[in-house]
Amino acid sequence: MKVRELIYYFKKHKFLSLSIYFHLTLFFVILGTFVAFKGELEYESTSLQKIYEGKAIYQLLDGFYDGDKYAEFVSEPDYLVRLKSYYKQLNNTSDFNYLAMFNQFIYLKDKGLPEELIEGYEQGSKKNQVQVGDDIFTTVKSFQMNKQAMNYFGLQVENGRLWNDEDFKDNSVMPVLLGSSYQNLYKVGDETTINYYNKPLTVKIIGFLKENSKVYFNSNTEFYLNKYVILPYRDYGIPASKTDEVFQQASYFAVANGYLVTENNALQNKLMMQRVEAISKNTSFAGYSFIGLSPHFQKYRGLMTVVQENRTLIQSIFVSTFILNLIVIITILLLQQKRRLSSFAIHYINGATINRLIYMLWLEISTILLAAYLTNFLVLYEILKLGDMETQLLILVLCFAMSIIICILLARKLLSNSMTDYINIEGGV
């Protein structure tokens, strides 16, 4: 009987019930969107904080920029061993994080590469191509980093996987990561050929970085890796030939220049400098120098503060939207239900108990609320894929709270006044 009554109610107020249903659905969807928005900003601000807050970044350079000094160094018999040892100790110390990063371009086998991926695109260069056998190779943007850099910046993949420890050992095939702009050109598992520091290498694609992954490089806190081929700085054994030695020389000199990250206090800074001095002495690698706090380092603060301010803004608009919308919705629901009081009075005359009436009242409200909640769940969670389970649970709780509040407000009226008050007059206002 209750269900029949419910169906009759909905049939009688088709349009209004439908409008209220849509209204509620949108209300829940907006709430979900706001929460998702705030979540994204919070995530971004915490990851920026983790990377930059309270940290000092120094750039370490090798001291062999002078051509003669360089030639003198590489003419010594054990220079490569010392260079490797220098890098190994820098990479493994616990006094600071050593981020070896550089953007040396590579030649990539060209099977139709878009212009934006080539080296020098931003400076207006056109494709720089070389023919090797049947294939054409083009210079593309490339970025090299060690494992510490990958971990420090919290890089994540959209497909595939990141490097593990095995990937940094010397192997015939080099595992590479690609920026998200390469998604249309390759897939995970593809192999191709590159030329890196004059050495041809076979590379295998193990993953694509998430879109808009960024690192700190060259005083730029927003160095986006979307258009880069990312190579790992691997450890090599004894060079097999002269060409191999030249390759390793270039590679290790690249990693001897990197970024040192430490806590930004005098004690840690001193420890860091002492450690680098000790390593240099230990490996007899005498030439190094620091560039202190890169000039525009504080730029990170710019992005992070804007993100935080944005979060506060979202919070305030969220609260005001929520409250105002809630007021409008509850008023409309209340008004609609008040109109029902006269039909409830008729039921009462026909023998219904007050509890039954209250139950019917609650049923009418919560059916619409539940239908709206389910639609919202479908739209937000399944179709738009925004927000998480927690948000949906919160909205469900809100749903119940709303139905109970409206029910209580009206039930009070039913209980306090006598039914005859409602028989004659049309409810509502």
Partner: protein
């Protein structure tokens, strides 16, 4: 005649809430766009970056569009404002921005560049690639942002051109910007467009998508709220209207009274909401004109909806037809 009954108060209250909600949201969108600009080095999300190796001073002549800006980036810090049609100015902390009548070399700098200025005879000067510019103002927001490291110049630096030049076209409408970009490329084939040069909020945190979604959902919500309430109102008024019909009053008169009623109610709620907003909102991001426009829109929508309901009712009912 218009008399204030309890149901009118509810009507006014509901529309007051909806209008206030709308104004709050407009304020939010204004602020959000300002944040995006602040984090993106003064550029809007729809700006276009052009680069060329072959820069000539008069590459733009007689561009017919109004309301756009052209920048020339010398490097990360110094930037020339080539053209500024449409009274744009960056958020200023002190001093004043360039005016059309400036003849001397002037610059507007971010907070962090103040330590690079020299003070001579009470005026501040900054050196850009060897040339001296007078600093007329400081731009920025109350919090740290990317524009703290930028200097805007009003006259070009006379020096040897670098390898390549970067030009940025910016403005408030994407269509305009595309038209201007196409005009520039047609007249100067050596220019090409650089893809994907966004920075800041527009690029991180997936903001553009969620933001557009939010705006769309919000306007839909307002529309549905108005529909829901107007339906309720219509269903209540129907009974009254039929009684009046039976009493002999003409349909036209009854309908006119209904429309007048809702127009009066919405106008009153509009005025009240404007007063409320002006008292509490110190920053005044949205103008009075915008508020009046929103109120008229609400009026228009409410009238259309009521009209639709009445028309549907007319064509369905058979009992009390004229």
């Amino acid at each position: 005649m218009f008399t204030l009954k309890r149901k009118d108060i509810i009507f006014i209250f509901i529309f007051l809430s909806l209008l206030t909600l709308c104004y709050c949201f407009l304020t939010y969108t204004g602020k959000q766009e300002k944040f995006q600009e602040l984090s993106n080095e003064l550029y809007t999300p729809q700006h276009v970056v052009l680069s060329t190796k072959d820069y000539k001073e008069n590459f733009i002549s007689n561009i017919s569009q109004p309301n756009y800006r052209l920048f020339l980036e010398y490097d990360d810090t110094y930037r020339l404002l080539l053209e500024n049609k449409g009274e744009w100015s960056p958020p200023m902390l002190s001093g004043k921005f360039f005016s059309k009548s400036d003849n001397t070399k002037k610059a507007v700098i971010g907070k962090e560049l103040e330590k690079n200025t020299k003070e001579i005879k009470g005026k501040k000067y900054i050196s850009a690639h060897g040339e001296i510019y007078e600093v007329t103002g400081t731009m920025g927001a109350s919090f740290a942002s990317s524009i703290d490291y930028i200097a805007l110049l009003n006259k070009p630096i006379k020096g040897p051109a670098g390898d390549y030049t970067k030009i940025v076209v910016d403005g408030s409408s994407k269509k305009n910007i595309n038209l201007i970009t196409n005009e520039i490329i047609k007249k100067n084939p050596s220019f090409n467009v650089l893809e994907d040069e966004q920075k800041g909020l527009t690029k991180t945190a997936d903001i553009p998508f969620i933001y557009q979604l939010l705006v769309f959902e919000f306007y839909l919500l307002i529309l549905i709220s108005i529909i829901a309430f107007m339906r309720y109102w219509y269903e209540k008024e129907k009974k009254l209207m039929y009684v009046l019909f039976i009493l002999g009053i003409s349909k036209k008169k009854v309908y006119t009274q209904s429309f007048l009623k809702i127009i009066m109610n919405i106008t009153v709620s509009g005025i009240l909401s404007m007063i409320l907003f002006f008292t509490f909102d110190a920053e005044a991001i949205i103008t009075l004109a915008q508020m009046i426009w929103v109120m008229s829109l609400f009026l228009f929508i409410a009238c259309i909806i009521l009209g639709v309901f009445l028309w549907l009712n007319n064509s369905n009912r058979g009992v009390a037809k004229q």
